[in-house]
């Protein structure tokens, strides 16, 4: 898990914790737990929600650490400015990643789905929370292997990213003439820039 601070944001949004999990074996159950927790009442409900108080992101649609961090920054900014388009800063990260304004489409594509096998898990919170506790909760929530973000290299599904960003016929892609590294660089830059300007995409 990597943690970093955003000192220019209000304290409750200034601590970021993120980890990449591969070989996730229980995505369907995780999704079910999220659905159940979201409507559960009483202290049990609160406990269930606390245990799953993360953004669970489809890792194969993340093109780089910069892409992820841009989406995180976008979401905390929206929260700080009182302009969240979704319920929480965590769901806002997922919404930020999707090129359209459709919330349910964003959750379906960029959130955890029954078929997810790799997940990026993110927690935004105040620096007062213990990093050890957060990592323990994260490990308890996901059944998978935590790997360094460099492993995104083998996880990103470039075909899916290109499809969602409608890049198939774009000049920038054609220009790379089948040079895979170069094409990935271009796709990553477009995906990152799209996330960064989500607020003015309209």
């Amino acid at each position: 898990m990597q943690s970093y601070q955003l000192p220019h944001l209000p304290p409750h949004l200034s601590s970021v914790h993120a980890a990449l999990f591969k070989d996730v074996s229980d995505a369907a159950q995780l999704r079910q737990r999220l659905i159940t927790a979201s409507t559960a009442e009483g202290p049990d409900g609160t406990r269930a929600r606390d245990a799953l108080n993360f953004a669970f992101i489809e890792a194969r649609l993340i093109t780089s650490l910069q892409h992820l961090r841009t989406a995180i920054h976008q979401a905390v900014m929206a929260d700080a400015l009182g302009s969240l388009r979704t319920r929480t800063v965590h769901s806002e990260i997922i919404w930020s990643l999707n090129p359209t304004n459709n919330i349910s489409e964003a959750m379906r594509r960029y959130g955890v789905s029954d078929t997810s096998t790799s997940l990026v898990v993110v927690r935004i919170d105040s620096p007062e929370l213990s990093v050890t506790d957060i990592e323990r909760d994260m490990d308890a929530a996901v059944n998978g292997t935590k790997v360094p973000f460099a492993d995104l290299r083998d996880i990103t599904d470039w075909t899916a990213v290109k499809k969602y960003h409608k890049l198939g016929n774009e000049v920038a892609i054609q220009q790379t003439k089948g040079d895979v590294d170069r094409e990935r660089g271009v796709v990553d830059e477009i995906a990152t820039s799209s996330v960064a300007m989500k607020m003015v995409m309209g």
Binding site: L6, H8, L9, P10, A80, V171, A196, V200
Partner: protein, 212 residues
């Protein structure tokens, strides 16, 4: 509540120190925080940059937009003075012409084409895909840009650059001619009409300066 974007800017000495320290660290780029612009200008500039990126025009990536504060954060392009790159002048002119052509093919009009709105990427922080060139020309400052497919707008865009060239370079004619040659190749069948229109625009410009 204090604006997070303004807080980020007021802490920007720290950021630029950081940028200095990480200058040549690959894949690690700090956002540059541009001067405060109006909301619509910021939105327009960001959209023009994304359109350029999708169309294969070399421009800085977008890193953050705070429209309510009128703040645009863009990728910091590491660069040096032109002389540092030892690129033959005609190659440089060719790069300029090619980049403007790509931009105009995407129907983006820059609105303020001058050499101060162009940068050359530093070879140490950039992986060239060209067999011999170690840099690339990057167009910046899309604050006055707009979308148009009109020949007139493209011709005027070129004319602005021509005037800027003639006021800053003593022997600008052959330089500008080689820009236009590369531009024309890039524009293909669209070039003939733009070339004719550029002549009209020049004529209008000359008449205006005779009157004024």
């Amino acid at each position: 509540m204090a604006s997070p974007s303004l807080a980020l800017i007021s802490a920007s000495t720290l950021i630029s120190q950081g940028a200095e320290a990480h200058r040549f660290r690959k894949g690690y780029r700090h956002p540059t925080l541009d001067a405060s612009l109006t909301r619509s200008r910021v939105a327009g500039e960001a959209r023009a940059l994304l359109r350029c990126l999708r169309s294969g025009v070399n421009v800085p990536g977008v890193r953050m937009v705070d429209a309510s504060e009128g703040i645009l954060g863009i990728e910091q392009v590491e660069s040096d003075a032109l002389e540092e790159y030892e690129i033959p002048v005609d190659v440089l002119m060719q790069l300029i012409g090619q980049e403007i052509a790509k931009m105009h093919l995407a129907d983006v009009i820059h609105g303020d084409l001058t050499t101060s709105n162009m940068m050359l990427r530093h070879p140490s922080s950039f992986k060239s895909h060209h067999p011999t060139l170690r840099t690339e020309l990057v167009l910046i400052d899309f604050g006055l840009s707009f979308y148009s497919s009109l020949i007139e707008d493209k011709a005027v865009d070129l004319y602005v650059l021509e005037r800027a060239f003639s006021s800053t370079h003593p022997d600008s004619e052959p330089l500008f001619a080689s820009i236009l040659k590369a531009y024309g190749q890039g524009m293909g069948k669209d070039w003939a009409a733009i070339e004719r229109r550029l002549d009209d625009v020049r004529l209008r410009g000359r008449k205006r300066s005779m009157v004024g």
